[in-house]
Amino acid sequence: MFELAVKYIFSRKLQSLLMLIGVAFGCGGYIVFTSIQTGFQNFLKERLIENNGHITIRSREDYITPDSLAGVFFEGKRIYWITEPSGKRSHDYLQSAWYWQKLLEKLPYVVASTRRIEATTTCSRASFSRSISLRGVDPVNEPKVTNIAEDIIEGKLQMLSSGNNMVIAGVELLKFLGAKVNDTINIINPDGHVYPVKVVGIYSSGDRRNDESLVLGSITTVQNILESPGKITKIVVKTIDANKAAVFAQKLSQYSYDKVESWDQANVNFLSMTKQQSLIRQITMFTFILVVSFGIYNVLNMMVHQKQREIAILRSIGYTSGDTVMLFLLQGALISIAGGIIGLIIGYVACSYIETIKLPGRPMMVAWDVSIYMWGFVLVVTSALLASFLPAKNAGKLSPIEIIRRTE
Protein backbone atom coordinates (compact mmCIF):
# COMPACT_ATOMS: atom_id res chain seq x y z
CA MET A 1 0.00 0.00 0.00
CA PHE A 2 2.92 2.32 0.73
CA GLU A 3 4.17 2.23 -2.85
CA LEU A 4 0.69 2.78 -4.25
CA ALA A 5 0.10 5.65 -1.81
CA VAL A 6 3.34 7.29 -3.00
CA LYS A 7 2.27 6.80 -6.64
CA TYR A 8 -1.12 8.36 -5.90
CA ILE A 9 0.61 11.36 -4.30
CA PHE A 10 2.89 11.91 -7.28
CA SER A 11 0.14 11.31 -9.83
CA ARG A 12 -1.73 14.35 -8.49
CA LYS A 13 1.16 16.70 -8.13
CA LEU A 14 -0.78 19.96 -7.81
CA GLN A 15 -3.25 18.65 -5.23
CA SER A 16 -0.46 17.01 -3.24
CA LEU A 17 1.64 20.16 -3.44
CA LEU A 18 -1.24 22.28 -2.16
CA MET A 19 -1.72 19.93 0.79
CA LEU A 20 2.01 19.95 1.47
CA ILE A 21 2.17 23.76 1.38
CA GLY A 22 -0.83 23.99 3.71
CA VAL A 23 0.73 21.66 6.26
CA ALA A 24 4.20 23.24 5.95
CA PHE A 25 2.90 26.77 6.46
CA GLY A 26 0.60 25.61 9.26
CA CYS A 27 3.56 24.12 11.10
CA GLY A 28 5.96 26.95 10.20
CA GLY A 29 3.37 29.59 11.11
CA TYR A 30 2.74 28.00 14.49
CA ILE A 31 6.47 27.96 15.21
CA VAL A 32 7.05 31.57 14.13
CA PHE A 33 4.04 33.04 15.97
CA THR A 34 4.68 31.04 19.12
CA SER A 35 8.44 31.72 19.13
CA ILE A 36 7.98 35.48 18.74
CA GLN A 37 5.25 35.71 21.33
CA THR A 38 6.99 33.45 23.82
CA GLY A 39 10.26 35.30 23.22
CA PHE A 40 8.60 38.64 23.94
CA GLN A 41 6.82 37.32 27.03
CA ASN A 42 10.04 35.77 28.30
CA PHE A 43 11.81 39.09 27.75
CA LEU A 44 9.20 40.98 29.77
CA LYS A 45 9.21 38.29 32.44
CA GLU A 46 12.98 38.38 32.70
CA ARG A 47 12.93 42.16 33.03
CA LEU A 48 10.45 41.90 35.88
CA ILE A 49 12.46 39.23 37.66
CA GLU A 50 15.80 40.90 36.91
CA ASN A 51 14.83 44.08 38.69
CA ASN A 52 12.72 42.78 41.52
CA GLY A 53 13.83 39.21 42.21
CA HIS A 54 11.52 36.23 42.54
CA ILE A 55 10.03 37.20 45.90
CA THR A 56 9.80 40.45 47.84
CA ILE A 57 9.23 40.71 51.57
CA ARG A 58 7.96 44.01 52.98
CA SER A 59 5.86 45.23 55.83
CA ARG A 60 2.15 44.63 55.51
CA GLU A 61 0.08 47.75 54.99
CA ASP A 62 -3.30 46.88 56.48
CA TYR A 63 -6.38 49.05 56.54
CA ILE A 64 -6.99 50.50 60.01
CA THR A 65 -10.38 49.98 61.67
CA PRO A 66 -11.64 50.95 65.17
CA ASP A 67 -10.96 47.34 66.22
CA SER A 68 -7.30 47.67 65.15
CA LEU A 69 -6.76 50.01 68.10
CA ALA A 70 -8.71 48.01 70.69
CA GLY A 71 -6.77 48.00 73.94
CA VAL A 72 -4.31 50.65 72.78
CA PHE A 73 -6.10 53.58 74.47
CA PHE A 74 -8.19 53.52 77.67
CA GLU A 75 -7.89 49.79 78.27
CA GLY A 76 -11.15 48.23 79.43
CA LYS A 77 -13.18 51.34 78.57
CA ARG A 78 -15.76 51.78 75.85
CA ILE A 79 -14.54 54.32 73.30
CA TYR A 80 -16.83 56.46 71.14
CA TRP A 81 -14.87 57.80 68.15
CA ILE A 82 -15.73 61.25 66.86
CA THR A 83 -13.79 60.40 63.72
CA GLU A 84 -13.17 56.70 63.27
CA PRO A 85 -9.56 55.72 62.53
CA SER A 86 -9.13 54.82 58.86
CA GLY A 87 -6.55 54.55 56.07
CA LYS A 88 -3.58 52.23 55.87
CA ARG A 89 -1.21 51.27 58.62
CA SER A 90 2.05 52.88 57.62
CA HIS A 91 4.68 50.32 58.50
CA ASP A 92 7.16 51.52 55.90
CA TYR A 93 9.98 49.56 57.40
CA LEU A 94 10.46 45.88 57.97
CA GLN A 95 10.47 45.28 61.70
CA SER A 96 12.24 41.94 61.45
CA ALA A 97 14.74 42.36 58.61
CA TRP A 98 17.54 40.75 60.58
CA TYR A 99 15.36 37.73 61.45
CA TRP A 100 14.45 37.32 57.78
CA GLN A 101 18.08 37.45 56.65
CA LYS A 102 19.05 34.68 59.09
CA LEU A 103 16.04 32.56 58.15
CA LEU A 104 16.54 32.91 54.39
CA GLU A 105 20.15 31.76 54.66
CA LYS A 106 18.92 28.38 55.94
CA LEU A 107 16.11 27.65 53.47
CA PRO A 108 17.00 25.16 50.72
CA TYR A 109 14.87 26.82 48.03
CA VAL A 110 16.47 30.24 48.54
CA VAL A 111 19.50 30.93 46.37
CA ALA A 112 20.26 34.40 47.72
CA SER A 113 18.60 37.41 49.27
CA THR A 114 19.39 41.10 49.61
CA ARG A 115 18.09 44.06 51.62
CA ARG A 116 16.79 47.28 50.18
CA ILE A 117 15.56 50.62 51.41
CA GLU A 118 13.32 52.44 48.95
CA ALA A 119 11.50 55.74 48.89
CA THR A 120 10.07 58.23 46.48
CA THR A 121 11.87 61.53 46.75
CA THR A 122 12.95 64.45 44.58
CA CYS A 123 16.20 65.03 42.78
CA SER A 124 17.42 68.39 41.53
CA ARG A 125 20.30 70.10 39.83
CA ALA A 126 20.35 73.82 39.22
CA SER A 127 16.76 74.73 38.34
CA PHE A 128 15.79 71.21 37.20
CA SER A 129 14.05 68.82 39.55
CA ARG A 130 12.25 65.54 39.16
CA SER A 131 10.52 62.96 41.33
CA ILE A 132 12.74 59.90 41.67
CA SER A 133 12.70 56.39 43.01
CA LEU A 134 15.58 56.26 45.48
CA ARG A 135 16.83 52.76 46.15
CA GLY A 136 19.44 51.76 48.70
CA VAL A 137 21.02 48.44 47.76
CA ASP A 138 23.66 46.09 49.13
CA PRO A 139 26.36 46.19 46.39
CA VAL A 140 27.62 42.73 47.41
CA ASN A 141 24.33 40.81 47.61
CA GLU A 142 22.24 42.70 45.05
CA PRO A 143 24.02 41.13 42.01
CA LYS A 144 23.33 37.68 43.47
CA VAL A 145 19.58 38.33 43.34
CA THR A 146 18.94 40.72 40.45
CA ASN A 147 20.64 41.76 37.22
CA ILE A 148 20.72 45.47 38.03
CA ALA A 149 24.53 45.46 37.97
CA GLU A 150 24.46 44.38 34.31
CA ASP A 151 22.48 47.48 33.37
CA ILE A 152 25.12 49.85 34.70
CA ILE A 153 26.74 51.20 31.56
CA GLU A 154 29.28 53.42 33.26
CA GLY A 155 30.88 52.76 36.63
CA LYS A 156 30.22 49.73 38.81
CA LEU A 157 27.70 48.86 41.50
CA GLN A 158 30.54 48.09 43.92
CA MET A 159 31.62 51.74 43.74
CA LEU A 160 28.64 52.55 45.97
CA SER A 161 30.47 50.92 48.88
CA SER A 162 33.57 53.04 48.42
CA GLY A 163 32.11 55.94 50.40
CA ASN A 164 28.97 57.76 51.48
CA ASN A 165 26.82 60.00 49.32
CA MET A 166 27.59 58.25 46.05
CA VAL A 167 24.85 57.28 43.62
CA ILE A 168 24.28 55.63 40.27
CA ALA A 169 21.50 57.36 38.33
CA GLY A 170 19.34 56.49 35.36
CA VAL A 171 20.65 57.65 32.00
CA GLU A 172 17.50 59.60 31.11
CA LEU A 173 17.41 61.28 34.52
CA LEU A 174 21.00 62.47 34.09
CA LYS A 175 20.17 63.76 30.62
CA PHE A 176 17.23 65.68 32.10
CA LEU A 177 19.38 67.12 34.86
CA GLY A 178 22.26 67.80 32.47
CA ALA A 179 24.59 65.82 34.73
CA LYS A 180 27.29 63.25 34.07
CA VAL A 181 29.58 60.96 36.07
CA ASN A 182 31.50 62.79 38.85
CA ASP A 183 28.92 65.61 38.88
CA THR A 184 26.97 66.37 42.04
CA ILE A 185 23.19 66.29 42.17
CA ASN A 186 20.86 67.03 45.08
CA ILE A 187 18.38 64.66 46.65
CA ILE A 188 15.62 66.19 48.71
CA ASN A 189 14.17 63.84 51.35
CA PRO A 190 10.46 63.81 52.33
CA ASP A 191 11.19 66.26 55.17
CA GLY A 192 12.65 68.73 52.66
CA HIS A 193 16.28 68.32 53.68
CA VAL A 194 18.71 68.55 50.79
CA TYR A 195 21.55 66.04 50.44
CA PRO A 196 24.18 66.56 47.75
CA VAL A 197 25.40 63.26 46.25
CA LYS A 198 28.06 62.42 43.70
CA VAL A 199 27.17 60.52 40.53
CA VAL A 200 29.58 57.57 40.20
CA GLY A 201 27.77 55.56 37.55
CA ILE A 202 25.02 55.49 34.93
CA TYR A 203 22.20 53.00 34.81
CA SER A 204 20.43 52.09 31.54
CA SER A 205 17.93 49.20 31.42
CA GLY A 206 16.06 50.11 28.24
CA ASP A 207 12.96 50.57 30.41
CA ARG A 208 12.35 54.30 30.06
CA ARG A 209 10.40 54.55 33.31
CA ASN A 210 13.34 53.19 35.30
CA ASP A 211 15.94 55.11 33.33
CA GLU A 212 14.10 58.38 34.03
CA SER A 213 13.61 57.90 37.75
CA LEU A 214 15.89 55.32 39.38
CA VAL A 215 18.72 56.42 41.63
CA LEU A 216 20.79 53.73 43.34
CA GLY A 217 22.85 54.28 46.46
CA SER A 218 24.33 52.13 49.19
CA ILE A 219 21.92 51.21 52.00
CA THR A 220 23.82 53.48 54.41
CA THR A 221 23.69 56.44 52.00
CA VAL A 222 19.96 56.10 51.46
CA GLN A 223 19.30 55.55 55.18
CA ASN A 224 21.20 58.80 55.83
CA ILE A 225 19.25 60.70 53.18
CA LEU A 226 15.94 59.39 54.50
CA GLU A 227 17.15 59.98 58.06
CA SER A 228 16.17 56.42 58.93
CA PRO A 229 19.31 54.75 60.27
CA GLY A 230 19.15 50.94 60.38
CA LYS A 231 15.81 50.81 58.53
CA ILE A 232 15.07 48.39 55.68
CA THR A 233 11.92 48.52 53.54
CA LYS A 234 12.25 45.35 51.53
CA ILE A 235 14.06 42.05 51.22
CA VAL A 236 14.40 40.67 47.73
CA VAL A 237 14.81 36.91 47.32
CA LYS A 238 16.05 34.72 44.50
CA THR A 239 14.75 31.13 44.60
CA ILE A 240 15.83 27.97 42.84
CA ASP A 241 12.90 28.22 40.35
CA ALA A 242 11.18 31.45 39.33
CA ASN A 243 8.14 29.48 38.14
CA LYS A 244 7.61 28.12 41.66
CA ALA A 245 8.06 31.50 43.31
CA ALA A 246 4.38 31.68 44.33
CA VAL A 247 4.65 28.34 46.16
CA PHE A 248 7.83 29.44 47.93
CA ALA A 249 6.23 32.79 48.82
CA GLN A 250 3.31 30.95 50.38
CA LYS A 251 5.76 28.94 52.52
CA LEU A 252 7.63 32.07 53.56
CA SER A 253 4.46 33.91 54.47
CA GLN A 254 3.88 31.37 57.24
CA TYR A 255 6.95 32.64 59.12
CA SER A 256 5.80 36.21 59.69
CA TYR A 257 2.96 38.71 59.36
CA ASP A 258 5.03 40.64 56.79
CA LYS A 259 3.79 40.73 53.22
CA VAL A 260 5.51 38.08 51.09
CA GLU A 261 4.78 38.32 47.40
CA SER A 262 6.13 36.45 44.41
CA TRP A 263 6.92 38.23 41.15
CA ASP A 264 3.87 36.74 39.43
CA GLN A 265 1.53 37.66 42.30
CA ALA A 266 2.82 41.21 42.10
CA ASN A 267 2.25 41.37 38.35
CA VAL A 268 -1.16 39.79 37.94
CA ASN A 269 -2.14 42.24 35.22
CA PHE A 270 0.95 41.45 33.19
CA LEU A 271 0.31 37.72 33.45
CA SER A 272 -3.36 38.05 32.53
CA MET A 273 -2.27 40.12 29.52
CA THR A 274 0.19 37.43 28.41
CA LYS A 275 -2.48 34.76 28.90
CA GLN A 276 -4.85 36.77 26.76
CA GLN A 277 -2.18 37.12 24.08
CA SER A 278 -1.58 33.36 24.15
CA LEU A 279 -5.30 32.70 23.88
CA ILE A 280 -5.59 34.98 20.83
CA ARG A 281 -2.61 33.21 19.24
CA GLN A 282 -4.12 29.80 19.95
CA ILE A 283 -7.47 30.79 18.46
CA THR A 284 -5.72 32.18 15.35
CA MET A 285 -3.61 29.04 14.96
CA PHE A 286 -6.62 26.79 15.56
CA THR A 287 -8.53 28.59 12.79
CA PHE A 288 -5.54 28.34 10.46
CA ILE A 289 -5.00 24.63 11.15
CA LEU A 290 -8.73 24.03 10.72
CA VAL A 291 -8.59 25.60 7.25
CA VAL A 292 -5.54 23.46 6.36
CA SER A 293 -7.32 20.34 7.64
CA PHE A 294 -10.41 21.14 5.58
CA GLY A 295 -8.19 21.51 2.54
CA ILE A 296 -6.68 18.08 3.11
CA TYR A 297 -10.09 16.60 3.78
CA ASN A 298 -11.49 18.02 0.55
CA VAL A 299 -8.57 16.92 -1.62
CA LEU A 300 -8.57 13.37 -0.24
CA ASN A 301 -12.35 13.15 -0.39
CA MET A 302 -12.23 14.14 -4.03
CA MET A 303 -9.50 11.58 -4.63
CA VAL A 304 -11.58 8.83 -3.02
CA HIS A 305 -14.46 9.79 -5.29
CA GLN A 306 -12.22 9.75 -8.38
CA LYS A 307 -10.64 6.45 -7.43
CA GLN A 308 -13.84 4.54 -6.76
CA ARG A 309 -13.37 2.15 -9.68
CA GLU A 310 -9.82 1.38 -8.66
CA ILE A 311 -10.96 0.82 -5.08
CA ALA A 312 -13.54 -1.62 -6.45
CA ILE A 313 -10.92 -3.62 -8.32
CA LEU A 314 -8.56 -3.62 -5.36
CA ARG A 315 -11.32 -5.02 -3.19
CA SER A 316 -12.33 -7.62 -5.78
CA ILE A 317 -8.77 -8.93 -6.11
CA GLY A 318 -8.43 -9.49 -2.40
CA TYR A 319 -7.53 -6.17 -0.79
CA THR A 320 -9.51 -5.61 2.40
CA SER A 321 -11.44 -2.59 3.55
CA GLY A 322 -8.57 -1.95 6.00
CA ASP A 323 -6.09 -1.93 3.10
CA THR A 324 -8.16 0.74 1.36
CA VAL A 325 -8.34 2.84 4.52
CA MET A 326 -4.58 2.48 4.88
CA LEU A 327 -4.03 3.55 1.26
CA PHE A 328 -5.62 6.96 1.83
CA LEU A 329 -4.46 7.35 5.41
CA LEU A 330 -0.89 6.74 4.26
CA GLN A 331 -1.22 9.54 1.72
CA GLY A 332 -2.37 11.91 4.45
CA ALA A 333 0.40 10.70 6.75
CA LEU A 334 3.16 11.01 4.15
CA ILE A 335 2.08 14.49 3.08
CA SER A 336 1.59 15.71 6.64
CA ILE A 337 4.94 14.35 7.85
CA ALA A 338 6.78 15.79 4.83
CA GLY A 339 4.89 19.09 5.24
CA GLY A 340 5.63 19.06 8.97
CA ILE A 341 9.37 18.63 8.36
CA ILE A 342 9.35 21.44 5.79
CA GLY A 343 7.37 23.51 8.31
CA LEU A 344 10.07 22.94 10.93
CA ILE A 345 12.68 24.24 8.49
CA ILE A 346 10.49 27.22 7.51
CA GLY A 347 9.93 28.00 11.20
CA TYR A 348 13.65 27.78 12.01
CA VAL A 349 14.75 29.90 9.04
CA ALA A 350 12.03 32.51 9.63
CA CYS A 351 12.85 32.75 13.36
CA SER A 352 16.57 33.10 12.58
CA TYR A 353 15.80 35.97 10.24
CA ILE A 354 13.30 37.64 12.58
CA GLU A 355 15.87 37.59 15.37
CA THR A 356 18.16 39.79 13.28
CA ILE A 357 15.51 42.53 12.94
CA LYS A 358 16.48 45.47 15.14
CA LEU A 359 13.84 47.24 17.18
CA PRO A 360 14.54 50.54 19.00
CA GLY A 361 16.67 49.61 22.00
CA ARG A 362 16.73 45.86 21.45
CA PRO A 363 16.53 43.13 18.78
CA MET A 364 13.35 41.10 18.12
CA MET A 365 12.93 38.56 20.89
CA VAL A 366 12.53 34.98 19.66
CA ALA A 367 12.25 31.97 21.95
CA TRP A 368 14.41 29.02 20.91
CA ASP A 369 12.53 26.28 22.64
CA VAL A 370 12.53 22.73 21.24
CA SER A 371 9.07 22.15 22.68
CA ILE A 372 7.62 24.86 20.38
CA TYR A 373 8.95 22.95 17.35
CA MET A 374 7.71 19.64 18.72
CA TRP A 375 4.25 21.04 19.43
CA GLY A 376 4.06 22.68 16.00
CA PHE A 377 4.92 19.42 14.29
CA VAL A 378 2.69 17.20 16.42
CA LEU A 379 -0.27 19.59 16.26
CA VAL A 380 -0.24 20.03 12.50
CA VAL A 381 0.57 16.40 11.67
CA THR A 382 -2.16 15.14 14.01
CA SER A 383 -4.71 17.55 12.52
CA ALA A 384 -3.74 16.48 9.00
CA LEU A 385 -4.01 12.81 9.95
CA LEU A 386 -7.43 13.36 11.49
CA ALA A 387 -8.50 15.21 8.34
CA SER A 388 -7.28 12.25 6.25
CA PHE A 389 -9.03 9.71 8.39
CA LEU A 390 -12.59 10.58 7.36
CA PRO A 391 -12.04 10.25 3.58
CA ALA A 392 -9.97 7.11 4.21
CA LYS A 393 -12.75 5.64 6.31
CA ASN A 394 -15.26 6.48 3.58
CA ALA A 395 -13.04 4.69 1.05
CA GLY A 396 -13.05 1.63 3.31
CA LYS A 397 -16.84 1.68 3.47
CA LEU A 398 -17.25 1.63 -0.31
CA SER A 399 -18.83 -1.58 -1.54
CA PRO A 400 -17.01 -2.88 -4.63
CA ILE A 401 -20.16 -4.36 -6.08
CA GLU A 402 -22.06 -1.08 -5.81
CA ILE A 403 -19.26 0.76 -7.60
CA ILE A 404 -19.14 -1.88 -10.35
CA ARG A 405 -22.92 -1.75 -10.77
CA ARG A 406 -22.84 2.05 -10.97
CA THR A 407 -20.19 2.06 -13.69
CA GLU A 408 -21.77 -0.69 -15.78
Binding site: E3, L4, I313, S316, I317, T320, S321, I401, I404
Partner: protein
Protein backbone atom coordinates in the same frame (compact mmCIF):
# COMPACT_ATOMS: atom_id res chain seq x y z
CA UNK B 1 -14.82 -32.44 -9.19
CA UNK B 2 -17.18 -29.54 -8.61
CA UNK B 3 -15.83 -26.01 -8.82
CA UNK B 4 -19.04 -24.17 -7.99
CA UNK B 5 -22.27 -25.49 -6.56
CA UNK B 6 -25.21 -23.14 -6.11
CA UNK B 7 -28.36 -24.27 -4.42
CA UNK B 8 -31.66 -22.35 -4.31
CA UNK B 9 -29.92 -19.00 -4.55
CA UNK B 10 -32.30 -16.08 -4.13
CA UNK B 11 -31.32 -12.45 -4.50
CA UNK B 12 -33.76 -9.57 -4.41
CA UNK B 13 -33.54 -5.81 -4.76
CA UNK B 14 -36.52 -4.48 -2.86
CA UNK B 15 -39.60 -5.99 -4.44
CA UNK B 16 -37.69 -7.15 -7.49
CA UNK B 17 -36.34 -10.70 -7.32
CA UNK B 18 -33.25 -10.92 -9.54
CA UNK B 19 -32.46 -14.56 -8.86
CA UNK B 20 -35.25 -17.06 -8.18
CA UNK B 21 -33.96 -20.20 -6.48
CA UNK B 22 -31.09 -20.80 -8.89
CA UNK B 23 -29.51 -24.22 -8.57
CA UNK B 24 -26.52 -25.23 -10.68
CA UNK B 25 -23.22 -27.07 -10.61
CA UNK B 26 -20.07 -26.10 -12.50
CA UNK B 27 -17.31 -28.64 -12.73
CA UNK B 28 -13.63 -27.87 -12.48
CA UNK B 29 -12.06 -27.02 -15.82
CA UNK B 30 -15.38 -26.12 -17.38
CA UNK B 31 -15.76 -23.05 -19.60
CA UNK B 32 -19.27 -21.83 -18.90
CA UNK B 33 -20.96 -18.92 -20.60
CA UNK B 34 -23.83 -17.34 -18.70
CA UNK B 35 -26.06 -15.53 -21.14
CA UNK B 36 -29.37 -13.76 -21.17
CA UNK B 37 -30.96 -10.50 -22.03
CA UNK B 38 -30.37 -7.34 -20.06
CA UNK B 39 -32.11 -7.67 -16.67
CA UNK B 40 -32.20 -11.48 -16.85
CA UNK B 41 -30.02 -11.72 -13.72
CA UNK B 42 -26.75 -12.89 -15.27
CA UNK B 43 -24.58 -10.24 -13.61
CA UNK B 44 -26.33 -10.78 -10.28
CA UNK B 45 -25.63 -14.50 -10.58
CA UNK B 46 -22.01 -13.71 -11.43
CA UNK B 47 -21.59 -11.55 -8.29
CA UNK B 48 -23.43 -14.07 -6.13
CA UNK B 49 -21.30 -16.99 -7.31
CA UNK B 50 -18.05 -15.06 -6.82
CA UNK B 51 -18.98 -13.79 -3.35
CA UNK B 52 -18.78 -10.15 -4.44
CA UNK B 53 -22.43 -9.74 -3.42
CA UNK B 54 -24.38 -11.31 -0.61
CA UNK B 55 -27.39 -13.52 -1.27
CA UNK B 56 -30.76 -13.55 0.47
CA UNK B 57 -31.06 -17.31 0.78
CA UNK B 58 -29.62 -20.56 -0.49
CA UNK B 59 -25.93 -21.34 -0.47
CA UNK B 60 -22.93 -21.20 -2.80
CA UNK B 61 -20.02 -23.60 -2.47
CA UNK B 62 -16.87 -22.56 -4.31
CA UNK B 63 -14.18 -25.25 -4.33
CA UNK B 64 -16.06 -26.82 -1.46
CA UNK B 65 -16.25 -23.67 0.68
CA UNK B 66 -19.47 -21.87 1.52
CA UNK B 67 -18.16 -18.44 0.54
CA UNK B 68 -21.10 -16.57 2.04
CA UNK B 69 -20.22 -17.98 5.43
CA UNK B 70 -16.56 -16.95 5.28
CA UNK B 71 -15.31 -14.03 7.35
CA UNK B 72 -14.42 -10.89 5.39
CA UNK B 73 -10.68 -11.54 5.80
CA UNK B 74 -11.01 -15.16 4.70
CA UNK B 75 -13.20 -14.16 1.77
CA UNK B 76 -10.66 -11.54 0.61
CA UNK B 77 -7.90 -14.09 0.93
CA UNK B 78 -9.94 -16.69 -0.92
CA UNK B 79 -10.68 -14.26 -3.74
CA UNK B 80 -7.02 -13.27 -3.90
CA UNK B 81 -5.69 -16.80 -4.26
CA UNK B 82 -8.48 -18.85 -5.85
CA UNK B 83 -10.36 -16.44 -8.11
CA UNK B 84 -9.45 -14.09 -10.93
CA UNK B 85 -11.71 -11.27 -12.07
CA UNK B 86 -12.05 -9.52 -15.40
CA UNK B 87 -14.68 -6.82 -15.85
CA UNK B 88 -16.14 -5.06 -18.84
CA UNK B 89 -14.21 -1.95 -17.90
CA UNK B 90 -10.59 -2.88 -17.37
CA UNK B 91 -10.31 -1.14 -13.96
CA UNK B 92 -6.56 -0.86 -14.13
CA UNK B 93 -4.88 1.37 -11.57
CA UNK B 94 -4.01 4.41 -13.64
CA UNK B 95 -0.83 5.24 -11.68
CA UNK B 96 0.72 1.78 -12.17
CA UNK B 97 2.48 0.43 -15.25
CA UNK B 98 1.28 -2.67 -17.12
CA UNK B 99 3.64 -4.91 -15.17
CA UNK B 100 2.76 -3.32 -11.81
CA UNK B 101 -0.96 -3.75 -12.53
CA UNK B 102 -0.45 -7.42 -13.33
CA UNK B 103 1.48 -7.92 -10.09
CA UNK B 104 -1.09 -6.05 -7.98
CA UNK B 105 -2.88 -9.17 -6.59
CA UNK B 106 0.50 -10.75 -5.76
CA UNK B 107 1.57 -7.61 -3.94
CA UNK B 108 -1.25 -8.08 -1.47
CA UNK B 109 0.63 -11.01 0.09
CA UNK B 110 4.13 -9.79 -0.78
CA UNK B 111 4.48 -12.41 -3.50
CA UNK B 112 5.26 -9.93 -6.25
CA UNK B 113 8.95 -10.85 -6.42
CA UNK B 114 8.19 -14.56 -6.78
CA UNK B 115 5.56 -13.80 -9.39
CA UNK B 116 7.71 -11.47 -11.48
CA UNK B 117 8.85 -14.12 -13.96
CA UNK B 118 5.30 -15.35 -14.40
CA UNK B 119 4.10 -11.76 -14.97
CA UNK B 120 6.75 -11.31 -17.68
CA UNK B 121 5.66 -14.61 -19.22
CA UNK B 122 2.03 -13.43 -19.27
CA UNK B 123 3.06 -10.16 -20.90
CA UNK B 124 4.81 -12.16 -23.57
CA UNK B 125 2.03 -14.73 -23.87
CA UNK B 126 -0.60 -12.05 -24.42
CA UNK B 127 1.68 -10.11 -26.77
CA UNK B 128 1.75 -7.02 -24.61
CA UNK B 129 5.45 -6.94 -23.68
CA UNK B 130 5.56 -3.40 -25.02
CA UNK B 131 3.01 -2.43 -22.34
CA UNK B 132 5.30 -3.53 -19.51
CA UNK B 133 6.32 0.01 -18.52
CA UNK B 134 3.38 1.85 -20.03
CA UNK B 135 0.66 3.45 -17.96
CA UNK B 136 -2.93 2.42 -18.82
CA UNK B 137 -3.48 5.83 -20.41
CA UNK B 138 -0.75 4.96 -22.93
CA UNK B 139 -2.36 1.63 -23.94
CA UNK B 140 -5.16 0.79 -26.36
CA UNK B 141 -8.46 -0.64 -25.12
CA UNK B 142 -7.49 -4.17 -26.19
CA UNK B 143 -4.10 -3.91 -24.51
CA UNK B 144 -5.67 -2.72 -21.28
CA UNK B 145 -8.11 -5.62 -21.28
CA UNK B 146 -5.29 -8.09 -21.95
CA UNK B 147 -3.38 -6.59 -19.00
CA UNK B 148 -6.54 -7.04 -16.91
CA UNK B 149 -6.76 -10.69 -18.00
CA UNK B 150 -3.07 -11.19 -17.18
CA UNK B 151 -3.72 -9.64 -13.76
CA UNK B 152 -6.55 -12.09 -13.17
CA UNK B 153 -4.16 -14.97 -13.88
CA UNK B 154 -1.13 -13.87 -11.86
CA UNK B 155 -2.13 -15.83 -8.74
CA UNK B 156 -2.86 -18.93 -10.90
CA UNK B 157 -6.49 -18.99 -9.78
CA UNK B 158 -8.67 -22.03 -10.14
CA UNK B 159 -11.63 -20.02 -11.36
CA UNK B 160 -11.76 -16.98 -13.64
CA UNK B 161 -14.85 -14.78 -13.46
CA UNK B 162 -15.20 -12.61 -16.54
CA UNK B 163 -18.07 -10.14 -16.75
CA UNK B 164 -18.63 -9.00 -20.33
CA UNK B 165 -14.86 -8.81 -20.95
CA UNK B 166 -15.40 -7.93 -24.61
CA UNK B 167 -18.24 -5.49 -24.02
CA UNK B 168 -16.00 -2.49 -24.45
CA UNK B 169 -13.75 -3.81 -27.23
CA UNK B 170 -13.79 -3.84 -30.99
CA UNK B 171 -14.28 -7.17 -32.79
CA UNK B 172 -10.56 -7.84 -33.35
CA UNK B 173 -9.62 -7.27 -29.74
CA UNK B 174 -12.73 -9.15 -28.61
CA UNK B 175 -11.61 -12.19 -30.53
CA UNK B 176 -8.10 -11.96 -29.11
CA UNK B 177 -9.46 -11.81 -25.55
CA UNK B 178 -11.88 -14.69 -26.12
CA UNK B 179 -9.09 -16.73 -27.64
CA UNK B 180 -7.02 -16.08 -24.52
CA UNK B 181 -9.82 -17.33 -22.27
CA UNK B 182 -10.18 -20.43 -24.37
CA UNK B 183 -6.46 -21.10 -24.17
CA UNK B 184 -6.29 -20.49 -20.42
CA UNK B 185 -9.13 -22.96 -19.99
CA UNK B 186 -7.58 -25.61 -22.19
CA UNK B 187 -3.97 -25.21 -21.15
CA UNK B 188 -4.31 -24.64 -17.39
CA UNK B 189 -7.62 -26.42 -16.88
CA UNK B 190 -8.85 -23.22 -15.24
CA UNK B 191 -12.57 -22.96 -14.75
CA UNK B 192 -13.88 -19.94 -16.66
CA UNK B 193 -17.25 -18.34 -15.94
CA UNK B 194 -18.00 -15.89 -18.71
CA UNK B 195 -20.91 -13.48 -18.71
CA UNK B 196 -21.80 -12.41 -22.20
CA UNK B 197 -24.77 -11.34 -24.23
CA UNK B 198 -23.00 -12.28 -27.44
CA UNK B 199 -24.16 -15.66 -28.75
CA UNK B 200 -21.08 -16.00 -30.93
CA UNK B 201 -18.75 -15.91 -27.93
CA UNK B 202 -21.11 -18.06 -25.88
CA UNK B 203 -20.65 -20.80 -28.43
CA UNK B 204 -16.90 -20.81 -27.76
CA UNK B 205 -17.70 -22.12 -24.26
CA UNK B 206 -18.21 -25.76 -23.30
CA UNK B 207 -21.58 -24.95 -21.84
CA UNK B 208 -24.11 -22.13 -22.01
CA UNK B 209 -26.47 -21.35 -19.16
CA UNK B 210 -29.16 -18.99 -20.38
CA UNK B 211 -31.09 -16.95 -17.83
CA UNK B 212 -34.49 -15.37 -18.19
CA UNK B 213 -36.23 -13.34 -15.50
CA UNK B 214 -33.95 -14.64 -12.78
CA UNK B 215 -34.39 -18.30 -13.67
CA UNK B 216 -32.38 -20.75 -15.74
CA UNK B 217 -34.10 -20.89 -19.10
CA UNK B 218 -31.70 -23.39 -20.64
CA UNK B 219 -28.49 -25.21 -19.81
CA UNK B 220 -26.76 -26.45 -22.97
CA UNK B 221 -23.50 -28.40 -23.27
CA UNK B 222 -21.57 -27.74 -26.47
CA UNK B 223 -18.79 -30.06 -25.55
CA UNK B 224 -18.95 -33.26 -23.63
CA UNK B 225 -16.80 -33.01 -20.51
Amino acid sequence: MVAIEASNVVKSFGDFTALKKITLKIRKGEFVAITGKSGSGKSTLFYSLSGLDIIDSGHVLVLGKNIHNLSQDDLHDFRNTKMGFVFQFHYLVSELTGLENILLPAKKNNLHKQKLDYALYLLDYFAIVHCKDKLPSQMSGGERQRVAVARSLIMSPEIIFADEPTGNLDSINSEIVMKIFREINRKNKTTVILITHDDEYAHLADREIRLKDGEIESDVYYKKM
